[in-house]
């Protein structure tokens, strides 16, 4: 068993490009679900607005990259308004039903053959990410080394002895932008949730009728939360599309949204750093389990008949699901959550 490899992989992924997508999308959900109590089950569709907004604008319409970003953000706002206006005055579960349906509609429209000339149908779109990588300060022919950090043909290696981290120049650019976005979102949200504005959101989560009786326009606040969370979701869509250099409709399924929820609940809802910690932990555990099992099969520690390498993926998700159930039983507030707050609901 190559434990060095297993832990290096797990840690590399714990702060890598994929984790960033989930962290950003879950930050958006945290605004909606964590702080305001809005059950948005269509965060994948908000991400799709960002991803497809960008890809369609650049590829199908032939417009510049930044136009694509603007279109993606506008599409997310439009979707938030479209879903919010009819449902946010109603009981909380209506938003849940409508968002889950809307997400499915978006996915099916994207993969339908009617517009496949523009959207590529189920194959999706590629060829929109070059302007983004052209902005990258990292080049693929850089060669240098300094102490335990080295760069070889654009591939960065941080060798800490017991583990090492390796990223390509494209990964590095995605990570630079992704982590910068997370920093900006957390600073802005940190200021907002500790303001009277954030206090009204938490009040709405607790009891919106009570907040209404105190003279607050609850509908307007819920709409603001839905739009802000949706914009952050669209940003996750940009990072997703750019890191893969393509968009595909079936990646924006409801599962995608549920993993955002897993990440949020794992880290701790209504905690500023909850989504980031949750995403890091989720991808660390996912890679740790898959690599360990793969290594064990290769080293023939697991008998050949018991588990094959194609079964590793499903088994890992089964184990993560089991872990999630145990977490909800023994630590339902998540890693960063406040036990005292949670106890109040039991009464």
């Amino acid at each position: 068993m190559d434990w060095h490899f297993v832990f290096s992989q797990a840690l590399t992924q714990a702060i890598g490009p994929t984790m960033l997508i989930y962290a950003i999308a879950a930050i958006g959900l945290n605004v909606q679900f964590g702080y305001t109590g809005l059950l948005n089950f269509g965060q994948a569709a908000f991400a799709a607005m960002g991803a497809y907004g960008l890809a369609l604008t650049v590829v199908a319409a032939g417009l510049p990259f930044w136009w694509g970003i603007a279109v993606g953000l506008l599409a997310a706002v439009a979707m938030a308004l479209l879903l919010g206006i009819p449902t946010l005055r109603l009981r909380a579960d209506y938003l849940a039903i409508v968002t889950i349906a809307a997400a499915e509609i978006v996915r099916r429209l994207a993969r339908s053959t009617v517009w496949s000339e523009h959207t590529g149908g189920s194959d999706g779109i590629r060829g929109f990410s070059e302007p983004f990588f052209a902005m990258s300060p990292y080049s693929d022919d850089a060669n240098w080394s300094f102490a335990f950090v080295s760069m070889e043909n654009g591939r960065l290696t941080v060798d800490l002895g017991i583990v090492d981290f390796q990223y390509s120049d494209r990964d590095l650019w995605i990570m630079t932008v992704g982590w910068a976005l997370i920093a900006v979102f957390l600073v802005v949200l940190g200021l907002l949730v500790h303001s009277p504005w954030g206090r009204v959101l938490k009040g709405i989560r607790e009891d919106e009728e009570a907040v209404r009786s105190l003279g607050k326009n609850v509908f307007a606040y819920k709409m603001q939360a839905l739009v802000i969370g949706g914009l952050i979701g669209a940003t996750a869509g940009f990072v997703f599309a750019l890191s893969r250099a393509n968009v595909q409709p079936d990646t924006f399924s409801t599962d995608f949204t549920f993993y955002f929820y897993v990440v949020l609940i794992l880290g701790g809802a209504a905690r500023l750093f909850g989504p980031v910690l949750g995403a890091a932990l989720f991808w660390f555990l996912y890679n740790l389990l898959s690599q360990t099992l793969n290594q064990a099969i290769r080293a023939e520690l697991i008998p050949a008949g018991a588990l094959s390498s194609i079964q590793v993926g499903p088994l890992v998700f089964f184990l993560l699901g089991l872990g999630m159930v145990l977490l909800l039983i023994y630590r339902p507030q998540g890693i960063l959550g406040n036990r005292r707050e949670l106890m109040l609901d039991v009464r």
Binding site: G203, E206, A210, S213, G215
Partner: protein
């Protein structure tokens, strides 16, 4: 404010209350009777749930600066009437004026902003927020509640400090000051009633609508709640409250409105009401063989 000033102000309010009482003294104890200076005036308010007519009030006026009790058997439509008047429910038809303004089209939060603040029969504390935050959220016209201003803490910090002082003063008055950093969900049922009332006062309302403020509150606390409600009148507020206990009503109410089966069946001073046969009928059912018939 100096003590003498406070005293002078209280004297003014006591006078106002005396004047209101005198005004009510000349009002006939009849359902829907007009009052000399109504803060609230409702006409033809009707609300049906399917076939059930929960509220059908022909006319109702509430005199400014008084404590008016709303009584009636369970299911009489008291809570439904509260919901309608405060914008939490829409009537099938009817109009009403609050403080000289038509209030029919106002939404619940706009009613609260206009100065009519309610509490709920089933207390609504914001459980996973501290007692102090429960109070602060209620402060009106907060700049920091706007999205853009929320970001710039310097813009609203001064206002927040003022609101905090006001909240602590109110909590002091309602004996909750030492609980201010506890979660509201950690309070007892009676303490939540106190918190809900204190919270309503953060808005500096013209009229407070209390739906059974004393339900489930122990007798000692009840007495202090009664004092609090009297203080509201002394501060110039109008109080409309739902209560079932006639002793309590005798102690604080200036006027009593009796509802049964959605309608206002009679009104009057507490003394007039307790000797009114229609009230006994309403509570015991119209077909009882009482001395009234």
């Amino acid at each position: 404010m100096s003590d003498s000033e406070t005293e002078r102000e209280e004297a003014v309010f006591r006078e106002a209350h005396q004047a209101a009482l005198e005004a009510l003294a000349d009002v006939a104890p009849e359902p829907g009777v007009a009052k000399p200076d109504p803060i609230l005036s409702a006409t033809g308010v009707r609300r049906a749930f399917g076939g059930l007519v929960a509220v059908d009030v022909e006319h109702l006026e509430v005199q400014r600066g008084t404590i008016t009790a709303l009584i009636g058997p369970n299911g009489a439509g008291k809570t439904t009437l509260f919901n309608l008047l405060t914008g939490f429910d829409r009537p099938s038809r009817g109009t009403w004026e609050f403080d000289g303004r038509s209030a029919k089209r106002l939404r619940s939060y706009q009613m609260a902003q206009a100065g009519m603040v309610r509490t709920f029969q089933l207390t609504k504390a914001l459980t996973r927020m501290t007692v102090l935050d429960n109070m602060l959220i209620a402060a009106p016209d907060q700049l920091g509640e706007r999205l853009w201003a929320g970001l710039i803490h310097g813009m609203w910090r001064g206002q927040e400090v003022g609101n905090r002082a006001k909240a602590l003063r109110l909590l002091e008055r309602f004996n909750l000051a030492d609980k201010c950093h506890d979660y509201a969900g950690e309070l007892s049922g009676g303490q939540r009633k106190l918190l809900e009332m204190a919270r309503a006062l953060m808005l500096e309302p013209k009229m407070v609508m209390l739906d059974e403020p004393m339900a489930g509150v122990n007798p000692a606390l009840k007495q202090s709640l009664l004092e609090h409600i009297k203080e509201l009148r002394e501060e110039g507020m109008t109080v409309l409250f739902v209560e079932h206990d006639m002793d309590m009503i005798h102690e604080i109410a200036d006027w009593v409105v009796v509802m049964a089966a959605g309608q206002v069946i009679t009104e009057g001073t507490p003394d007039q009401i307790s000797s009114d046969p229609r009230v006994i009928d309403a509570y015991l059912g119209a077909h009882h063989d009482g001395a009234a018939h």
